[in-house]
């Protein structure tokens, strides 16, 4: 990957090395955000990086929050044409906006909807041509809406996530998920978010500055990269913290006070 285009987030995620093998293969990334600071821009950046011409990634984008047109417009301004990528079968979009697991039989059907979704993902991966099967990235926007689709059956959501997680070892695909951390912050036992944080290899958290919102600095990102044991010379966790400002065609990342 050309170094001049790399930013602090790329480096924190480990995307500053060679693009083959894809550094996020087999890894789970969890993006956390809150009402004040949306973390969607991190997802958009990862879409762009995954679909760069130098990589062979295929993205399965499971969208619960926004329709295709929304992402298309945003990524276009970032320099990535999702319509073309969709036609080239590099960007597969699952529109889940209207998914609602029927709750006639609350137990069974809530699970049923998510089982079907998992099967659809698995079928899509298996249906890919041989060379593309090893470079799949599954993205989910966002997990709190998966809970709503499952009528609050968080056990089913956890099962679904565990199954998706198994794909990272079976097919070496990456799993990138967005969830809203502030929903769970008041719970006594926020099992879902705790399990997701445990499973994640990389945690990216978007939150406001301690001084509140500002026009020049939209918030701060904290990236916890848990490091992999099989990578030579790498061990232990690395924590990065920097500020960001989101623009239409890029995002600026900078250390506090260092922005020109």
């Amino acid at each position: 990957m050309e170094n001049q285009y790399l930013n602090l987030l790329d480096r924190a995620l480990g995307l500053d090395g060679p693009s083959e093998p894809w550094p996020l293969s087999g890894r789970v990334v969890l993006i956390e955000d809150c009402v004040e600071t949306s973390g969607s821009f991190v997802l958009h950046q990862l879409v762009k990086r995954s679909l760069s011409p130098t990589s062979s990634n295929v993205i399965i984008f499971v969208a619960f929050a926004n329709p295709f047109s929304h992402y298309d417009r945003i990524l276009r301004k970032l320099g990535c044409n999702l319509v073309t990528q969709r036609d080239n079968k590099r960007f597969i979009f699952f529109d889940m906006l209207m998914l609602r697991c029927p709750d006639v039989d609350k137990g069974k059907s809530s699970e049923g909807g998510l089982v079907l979704l998992y099967e659809k993902i698995l079928k899509t991966i298996c249906g890919l041509p041989g060379d593309k099967k090893d470079y799949v990235t599954i993205m989910m926007d966002d997990i709190s809406l998966v809970e709503v689709a499952a009528n609050g059956g968080s056990d089913y959501v956890l099962d679904f996530l565990h199954y998706c997680h198994s794909l990272t070892s079976e097919f070496d695909c990456s799993l990138i998920m967005l969830n809203h951390e502030d929903i769970y912050s008041s719970m006594e036992r926020p099992t879902l978010i705790l399990q997701m944080e445990y499973l994640a290899d990389i945690l990216v958290k978007a939150e406001p500055l301690s001084t509140g919102l500002a026009t020049d600095v939209h918030g701060q990102l904290t990236v916890l990269n848990k490091g992999t044991s099989h990578r030579l010379g790498s061990s232990g966790n690395k924590i990065h913290n920097f500020h960001y400002k989101v623009k239409e065609n890029s995002v600026e990342y900078f250390y506090p006070g260092s922005r020109v």
Binding site: V35, K77, M98, R100, T211, A214, K247
Partner: protein, 366 residues
Amino acid sequence: MATTKPRLSSFSRNLSAVSSSQTPGVKCGPNGTMFVSSGIADLDRYFEILGGGFPLGSLVMVMEDAEAPHHMLLLRNFMSQGLVHGQPLLYASPSKDPRGFLGTLPSPASLKHDKSRDRESEQEKGLRIAWQYKKYMGENQPNFDSHRDNKQDYCNEFDFRKPLERHYFTRQRVNCVGIQHSKNLAALQEHCASFLAQHQRNDGSSALAGRIAIQSLCAPQCEHSNMVWEMLSFIKSLKGMVRSSNAVVVITFPPSLLSFSSTKRWQHMADTLLSVAAIPDEDKELAKLLSGYQDMVGLLNVHKVARLNTQVPLILEATTFSIKLQKCRFLVLECLNQAPVDGSSGSSYGTSGSCSGSSKAGTVDF
């Protein structure tokens, strides 16, 4: 492409002058979105940088204050504006007679109310803005005045002492739905689905915009009020349906009746998130901090602004308004201005938790 600036620039001046000639009461905005007026000129003006109003396809949520019915003022203006423009309306309420509420909707003011002059003089003596910031205030005025004629069409001034003429809501399809006694939200969802089906967005079509107003969605007298996931599911499907339509949905709800976690879920689902709060009477502390305190009936906070088709958040300099009823007739929102943020040092005004909290922080910045 230029970064989105929070202050008005010449770019947005041009935008506001262009209104869609095909459909009355609908304006084009950036990022391929279209807008309808909120029914409150001050709020439209605040959202001018976006396009001036609520974007079609979005979900607006208003968090109520259990101590004061100010959300009703917002709802009334929103509903009246749509009816005046001939935009079909679906109104749902937990009251026994939802249709009766239509009789309390305000009518467009008949006399040319000289509001801008009143406000200017009030702002001169009232708000204690340091001199170097006055130029930002001045920047707002010429825009508004020069486009006043255009804005007469897009956003009306409503007179609460004059009820909306009946022909506005008998002639068109105004559907009123009571939600108090339904077992669940399935019926309301059906109504919304069929309403939105009539306002599907097709590229190039000039279908009339529609408005849905749902009042006090989790009100305790409704049977669905303790069905946490049912309500979330309803909002999620409504949001999904409205996204592909030429309609705006406004939902008001009392967050005090939901758990913290549920409230956060609702807040995340909103595209635009507002809250209203009561101002205590005879509060000497507040009287010292806020000018024109005696005329204020409440506070309005803007927590989140719809960002359809864009990833850029909108951080505007002021997010708290005082709600005043001028001459007991006209709803006026005035920014409680706070010092512009100094990005390099990272200092800024605190995020507004409670409304009174934020206005106190603002005066410290003065």
